[in-house]
Amino acid sequence: MMRHLKVLAIYYRAAFLSQMEYRANFVSSFFLSLLWPLWVVSLLGVFFYHSPDLGGWSFNEAMLVIGLYDIFIGLQETILAPNIVQVTEHIQKGTLDFVLLKPANGQVLATITACNLMRLTDVLVGFGLIGAGLYRIGYVPTLVQITTFAVMIPAGMITVYSIWLMLTTLAFWFVRVENLGEVFYAFYETGRFPVTIYNRWLRLVLTYIVPIAFLTTFPAATLLGKLSPFFVFGSIMIAGILFYTSSRFWNYAIRFYSSASS
């Protein structure tokens, strides 16, 4: 475990150094991240111009959900998406050998070593939106609420990682899987709004089948003290089950990997 953390630290440091070469990109991506809350607040503004609430959430509460959406998009683009591009390329070209031959866990090396630090700006903006929302409500979460929130974010991240891992693993058979990612993004878009706005069936799908609700709506609810502990445990359970399943799937699929020449 410690050894792998050290390996990861080396990879991330290298990525940081190489990306700092392009400081202008950093600045422009930061300004782009700032546009996004502006956009979102105007969009929400139109709804609340006509209605006092959206699926039972006030304007300020909905800002928390959007902040979480931003955090997950940011984390996903920082440490998941670059790896998916990389690992599918490795599989397509047959160069995954070089990764698997290294003396560390192949899954770690292949699926979380690449990162794009530019998009961390989205995570910052996301926390900013949550802070702004809480400030405007005038609500201070209790220590318990902050703790459960702090547990649900990594749990959500593991959930997203596992879904991505399963989709990526399909590349061993289908080679071109980038488009499956697009389908997941389409589901992910629903996380912009509290899950309560959707009709019953869609809500069930988004809670139990593609657990988007556990990423944005539920952590926001827990921070406001509106979530039953059932869902907090649920979020940890889902993360655990999906992580176990997806890792098993990866290790199973890797046996079908036929390198370029063999």
């Binding site: 202008a24 990109n25 422009s28 991506s29 782009l32 546009l35 996004w36 956009w39 105007s42 969009l43 139109v46 709804f47 111009y49 006509h50 209605s51 959206l54 699926g55 488009n179 697009e182 389908v183 993004y185 389409a186 878009e189 629903t190 912009r192 709004f193 309560t196 706005i197 959707y198 009709n199 869609l202």
Partner: protein, 261 residues
């Protein structure tokens, strides 16, 4: 025209090759449907302005059709061609690259009609209360407005792509542009639902004529005079955008220095 057709045929063959991908791209345009779900939850308590639940459904389905028929994504290709230098080969051809990119932008449209046409027909049969005016005259006007919208959007994206002559991040400008477009065009929210002052401002900008105008037309919310006026304004924007585009093109070409050029 012959050059355009040749380019179009080449791009069209590519689309046929990747037809499954086109279908997936079509299915992943979900943003309007999410907005629809949000408005439906608001409209449960009663109509919002002049919009009741059925109006919202008709609006966002129309928006999906318009987005599919006028959306384009060629700037990604343009960006890589400019950075990697294959634009040089394009410049050697006795043809303005504008024609190539325009053909590329249009190439998936027949395929999309092929899918959307039957889908819309089914939608109309299943939901006869869908508020779409589908008499021949209105459909003709609708298609005309789509053409205007497509050309405005093409010229906007092409001009943004050309900023790649000066900066390496024209795609970021495109992202920022999309934020503006999605809000200001009526793609995400019907313009009528904005506060009156904002709405009046958005009517002056070109964005309305790329989305909201064709949608309103299809939903029969505009008088004939308004429709003709709208089409006229579309072409004024086309002319303005074209002039701007030529200006940027001429300035930018002088600065063009691709790898190895």
């Amino acid at each position: 025209m012959r050059k355009f057709l040749a380019e179009f045929r080449a791009c069209w063959n590519l689309i046929i090759e990747y037809r499954v991908m086109v279908v997936i791209w079509m299915l992943t345009i979900v943003l309007p449907l999410i907005m629809l779900a949000a408005w439906l939850s608001v409209a449960e308590k009663g109509p919002v302005g002049t919009y009741d639940r059925m109006t919202f459904i008709s609006y966002y389905f129309a928006a999906l059709v318009v987005r599919n028929m006028t959306g384009m994504w060629f700037i990604w290709e343009m960006d890589s061609e400019m950075r990697l230098g294959s634009l040089s080969f394009r410049l050697l051809k006795p043809m303005d690259p504008l024609l190539h990119y325009f053909a590329y932008a249009c190439s998936s449209k027949p395929f999309r009609i092929f899918i959307l046409g039957p889908a819309s027909l089914v939608a109309l049969l299943v939901f006869p209360e869908l508020k779409w005016a589908v008499d021949p005259l209105n459909l003709l006007l609708f298609v005309t407005s789509l053409a205007g919208s497509l050309i405005i959007l093409f010229l906007m994206q092409y001009t943004i792509g050309l900023t790649g002559f000066w900066i390496t991040r024209s795609l970021s400008i495109n992202d920022a542009w999309f934020f503006t477009y999605s809000l200001a065009s009526g793609y995400l929210v019907p313009l009528d639902l904005f506060p009156p002052m904002v709405r009046d401002l958005l009517w002056i900008l070109p964005f309305r004529y790329t989305m909201s105008f064709p949608v309103e037309l299809l939903m029969d919310r505009l008088p004939l005079g308004g429709i003709l006026q709208g089409i006229g304004i579309q072409w004024i924007w086309v002319a303005a955008m074209y002039l701007l585009n030529r200006l940027v093109w001429r300035r930018g070409l002088r600065r063009y220095s691709a790898v190895g050029a």
